[in-house]
Amino acid sequence: MPLDYRRFNGPEDSVSYKRFTKDYLKSYSELYNNLIDEKGRRKDGRALEEARSMCMFFARTDMVSQAKGSAYIELKKTKAVCSVFDPREIPHQNEFSQLGQLFCEVKFAPFSCPNQRRTHAPDADEKALSVALRQALEPTVCRHLFPNYQIDVFVYILENDGSCLAAAINAAGLALANAAVPMYDIITACSVAVIGEKMFVDPTEAEEHLAMMTPEKEGTNHGIITMSMLSELKQVSDFTQIGSMDTDCVTKAIEILEKECENIVPNIQKVLVLNVVQCIEQRKQLEEEAKEREQALNAKMEEWKQLLNSG
């Protein structure tokens, strides 16, 4: 494990104090009971199959002024920033590649996760997310339009409260559209956490954590699925599953996720349309200003001409 020697690091065998707090020592069933209340609602008031896309969703573009396109997405407490940069020639490559390439990088902020501090060096988790992000984005970008060039997509996760891959894909799709990269369709993603019979759509961190833990009863389904879709084309661009579940469960999850991915599309569309409207308004305003300036200039010219002629 590479360490950052410019900072103070704890002893090698030290563990977070949180491990000894009451919250940490809860058993599986206690944790499970904490997730749902008697009415079958989750901790943040959502129903099981209710995603955060409806009322806890916020997205905007043009976050990073230096980037060609950028986006910020917030699913209540999961927050991700994405920036997309101009195409540039693929570095260190001898062969000509017919298709353009995407370079994706997902990074967690050091303070983004509730339990442990993230290190600066990219860990296996981040690398896996980067690969998944690239896999998800590749089918949607018209890569034949920029041969031998690569587009850089950087995602920075500011806060992680579950479904960070889905948030990263949504943000990246929006940022690519904002950067005016030619795309086949709007890309959206969603995840689901499976714990036994229950499916938590768009899970929070606590739900994800429990879904990854081993259930007490042998043979129960558990795990997390993330799926990204091109909704208009009805194509799945990436599908990642981890855990252990039977086929019926996977099939059911695919159906739920398909619906949920479609639900996010209007949100993204709204942002994009708003962008276009703003752009047109801005242009109108600029044109008007230019016209005014020209008129003023012309008036001045007339004045001078008269002065010259009279003199």
């Binding site: 065998d13 296996a124 998944a132 896999q135 661009s237 990642t240 252990s244 086929t247 099939t251 695919i254």
Partner: protein, 309 residues
């Protein structure tokens, strides 16, 4: 796979073959090519296996070490995968060329083995909260002829089946530290329960259908492949006739997609089902081969082939 050129008509030929469930080498869509498997090939490892599937050659060695368990899982051992793509396999792996492929394979294996229903890490526990076994699984890719994930997962399962972990003879508590005495006798050791360890099946989408174990020609006809990790069935890995015939259904432990294309949701569902069927027959065949090998090992009848083939 350099220099493989296929004309449009050849591609159409392959596609039509896949449509009719009869491929150009005579296999059906869920058939594998013949494989060679030998266990116990490396003497310095606790368990090892070598697998050759068509032109892909994998060597897996399992090393065991005593380690401290993770604080959040005091009663389970640890398992780690390392993939080494040597430049012998293909010149593309030279330098840091194979790094990305290696990390993606090891990541996939780690994910497939994550669930305790796939591989129970509790069997690696020695002393709860203090000591556990850590398995280092080193995967060496000697030759790369496509379909790496499937070959790696098969070889890993075979190597784990072959792994022997020495018994602990005595434990001394010295203050807060534990002092362990291990048995020196190589036969005084326990075997791991790997029956449910997952196998990865790569499904290559050609036209509307998916095929397992694609040849190089078939791979070039496809833009997307789906990798499904399916748990094994313990029944295939024991000699005893189990009284309760609880036929464990294969469960998905990991699913991933690979390649620049995309699939329709309907195809995805079909492919997952197809993957589970293929994994089941693969698992059964592997179990039989491993049991036969162990039988020969016990009777000292085994003829060692090694790499001299």
């Amino acid at each position: 796979m350099a220099g493989l050129l296929l004309s449009e008509t050849e591609k159409v030929f392959i596609l039509h073959g896949v449509q009719d469930d009869y491929r150009s080498d005579g296999r059906s869509n869920i058939d594998y090519r013949p494989m060679e498997l030998e266990t116990d090939v490396v003497s310095h490892a606790s368990g090892s296996a070598r697998l050759r599937l068509a032109n892909t050659d994998i060597l897996v060695g399992v090393k065991t070490e005593i380690d401290v368990p993770k604080p959040d899982k005091p009663d389970s051992g640890r398992i780690e995968f390392f993939v080494d793509c040597s430049a012998n396999a293909t010149p593309e792996f030279e330098g840091r060329g194979g790094e990305q492929l290696a990390s993606s394979i090891s990541n996939l294996m780690q994910r497939a083995y994550h669930s305790s229903q796939a591989f129970n890490l509790k069997q690696l526990c020695i002393f709860e909260g203090k000591q556990c076994w850590k398995l280092y699984i080193d995967i060496l890719i000697l030759e790369c002829g496509g379909n790496l994930c499937d070959a790696v997962s098969l070889a890993v399962k075979a190597a784990l089946f072959n792994t022997r972990i020495p018994f602990v003879k005595a434990a001394l508590m010295d203050g807060g530290n534990v002092d362990l005495q291990l048995s020196d006798d190589p036969y005084d050791s326990k075997l791991l329960d790997v029956g449910s360890a997952p196998l990865l099946v790569t499904l290559c989408k050609i036209g509307e259908n998916c095929v397992v174990d694609p040849s190089a020609e078939e791979e070039s006809c496809s833009v997307i492949s789906l990798i499904v990790g399916v748990t094994g069935n313990r029944q295939y890995y024991t000699q005893e006739e189990e009284t309760d015939k609880k036929t464990m259904e294969g469960k998905c432990t990991t699913i991933a997609m690979h390649g620049p294309g995309s699939v329709a949701p309907k195809t995805l569902k079909e492919a997952i089902n197809q993957g589970i069927i293929a994994a089941k027959s693969l698992d059964e065949a592997l179990g039989q081969a491993l049991l036969r090998e162990r039988q020969e090992n016990i009777g000292f009848k085994k003829h060692s082939y090694g790499f001299l083939k």
